[in-house]
Amino acid sequence: MKEIPVPESPRSMVEALKNLSFFSQLAPRLLDDIFRTSKVRHYERDEVIIPEGSFDHFIYILIAGHVRVMKGSEEISELSEIGDLFGELSIIDSSPRSASVMAVTQTSCMAVDASFLDHLLPGDRHGVHAIIYKLFSEIASTRLRVSSAELAAAREELAIAKKELTRYRR
């Protein structure tokens, strides 16, 4: 992994990052603060971006490439759209990473230090929390719908496979 602090990145890169939808509702003044502690990270194919069970306080935004989300040895999702967010669950409930994330191809991410959420000025706090937590809710609920549907389908497939297995075993 190669890491470049955002303030040391080329100006054109910083401008491009400001256009990510995650930041679109935040005041430019706040972006400067957030960017000061954020990094751009480049990963090689198959490199681990987040190891399951670890603790850290970064939210990741995909800016190029393709990642795979794994729980144990099972893939639970893939992300490949610019602006896709991952790593927000640990930030929401201050828990260890619930899954691993790996680069499928050469991948670049913006790693946003989420501790900015705890260090906002009193006048900014509610407004920023309203925006960010609404966004987190939307992302997590979309993923929950997808995972619940997949879980229901996988359970059904498992029931059918088990039935077939019982027939063979007889």
Partner: protein, 170 residues
């Protein structure tokens, strides 16, 4: 199902509801605004509270009893703690209900009309959004963790069963 009128003047019920964590961060006036948009609903065992695929604008807070949540006929969760919230997914993304909910025992819920989120005074909006969406994101994150864990283990079991089946099929 028995339903109260909107909880405008039922001070005793309101006093009890203030103990529910969902409301503990709101001041009396804000609470009053929420309760104006809320109904107390009582259900008999096995009665349907929410129907998969339906649209409505209520978030439910469990007061007494127990509910089961099911998707396409299979139970995906049970809730029985006072203050537990369900029905938030449909509100977060303005989508139809992703699952059905039934009363297991005699159950009472507070049904909060989420339209209150659209009718807030500008002054209250940020504060209430920050509280409500932080809470929503915590609930959804917790459920997503559980669902992902189950999805990974069902997938793993499915892979094992399929592997075994492939021996028999030869």
């Amino acid at each position: 199902m028995k339903e109260s009128a909107f909880l405008d003047r039922q001070e005793t019920v309101i006093a009890a509801l203030k103990e529910v964590s969902f409301f503990s961060n709101l001041d009396d006036r804000q609470l009053h605004d929420v309760f104006k948009m809320s109904k107390l609903r009582q259900y008999d065992p096995n009665e349907e509270i929410m129907s998969e695929g339906a649209y409505d604008s209520f978030i439910y807070i469990l007061l007494t009893g127990e509910v089961r949540i099911s998707k396409a006929g299979s139970v995906i969760a049970r809730l029985h703690k006072t203050g537990e919230i369900f029905g938030e997914l449909g509100i977060i993304n303005y989508e139809p209900r992703s699952a059905s909910v039934h009363a297991v025992a005699k159950t009472s819920c507070l049904a909060v009309d989420a339209a209150f989120l659209d009718n807030l005074l500008p002054h209250d909006r940020d504060v209430i959004y920050a509280i409500v969406y932080k809470l929503f994101s915590e609930i959804v994150a917790q459920r997503l963790r559980v669902t992902s864990q189950e999805l990974a283990s069902v997938k793993e079991e499915l892979a094992r069963v399929k592997e075994e089946l492939s021996h028999y099929r030869r």
